[in-house]
Symmetry: C2
Subunit: 212 residues, 2 copies
């Protein structure tokens, strides 16, 4: 539907934050939540939250707050998060292996189906229930297993090659844990960088400028 | 200096991106770089990059591009990234242990000095050169070791307690790897959430809306 096609990027990001937060609230047994409570927790203006939610269409009476379970299902359906997606991890060092084993992904319809590493010894000794393959097979396996999401957890100088192989196989979204930026065609592939060093640097600078 | 105090949050974030990128370029042996090349890699308008850099004061002739090593040192000094900061990790599962061992942090003046977990068995079996402690000692150790940055890598329902202990000890910046939002006083503590599940959900929704 066209109004969905036109959902702004920023609204998608906020609704996904809301979606994972609602998962926590449901888990904690909270049945209802107001837009002002959601806004306080997420540090977003309540009217923005109400507006984002309204973009998804009718969601029921808001006077007494949102039903957490129903709102979560509503966001999931409208954002197509129920659609199953296969994912993989490239780079099976400590971080990559940790991500390979994350269990929460299923909440967003994501199934980890493969891990890759260029180090054959590592592939032989790794303990995981997920199939692992040498890095040179990335493009082939991605295509064969219909993998659309990839995580890059290799050293910076190996990141672009990993990304190129993923994209050659047909991956559509990449979470890049390396600090190296990934060259890609933004019309075909979405790339998000999650760099802990950068986040630490930002926190350090903010502390230096604002509180010391 | 007052002009530094007034550096916008968004500029701080972009300059930190630039800082980690320049580290890569230096490592790859690239001596000079133009604002348009930086802009292309980071997907930021070149004039924004020039403006952010100009906020830091004189950095030398730009006609033939920036000297990568010098610009990096310049950003480091002006953002006080040379200032040493102690950091810790709460939650020593796979992800927390991986972060505890990251070596790139030193680039931003950060030293990992402690790990914490509520599981005593885990503390006894973990293999790391960094000192580890039971979670109930967080506030005391944070204070004693002058830790200002903390990473939270515990399950969602344990995240707030971990954060409260860190903040009680005097931590000023938190990188939260749990999907749970952290209640905190934003005038005293900065919190960044890095939630892989959320990023995957955002990528899934973007793929669904824009390319399918």
């Amino acid at each position: 539907m066209s109004e969905k096609r036109g959902l702004p990027e920023a609204s998608i990001a906020r609704l996904c934050m809301l979606y994972t937060l609602l998962g926590d609230l449901v888990e904690q047994g909270q049945a209802r939540v107001s837009s002002s409570e959601l806004g306080r927790i997420l540090d977003i203006a309540p009217h923005s939250i109400r507006k984002d939610i309204s973009l998804l269409g009718e969601v029921g009476n808001v006077g007494s707050g949102y039903d957490t379970t129903r709102l979560r299902a509503h966001i999931r359906d409208r954002l197509h998060l129920e659609r199953p997606r296969n994912a993989c991890v490239v780079g099976l060092g400590k971080l990559g292996t940790a991500i390979l084993g994350f269990e929460r992904f299923r909440e967003s319809g994501i199934t980890m189906v493969a891990g890759f590493d260029s180090n054959i010894n590592r592939l032989e000794t790794i303990r995981t229930s997920i199939e692992v393959f040498p890095a040179y097979e990335i493009a082939e396996i991605v295509q064969r297993k219909k993998i659309v999401l990839g995580v890059i957890a290799v050293p910076p100088l190996a990141a672009q090659e990993a990304a190129d192989r993923l994209m050659r196989g047909g991956v559509r979204g990449i979470v890049n844990f390396s600090p190296a930026p990934i060259r890609h065609n933004p019309e075909k592939v979405f790339v998000t960088t999650m760099d802990v060093e950068r986040e630490f640097a930002i926190l350090s600078a903010r502390i230096a400028f604002n509180n010391e």
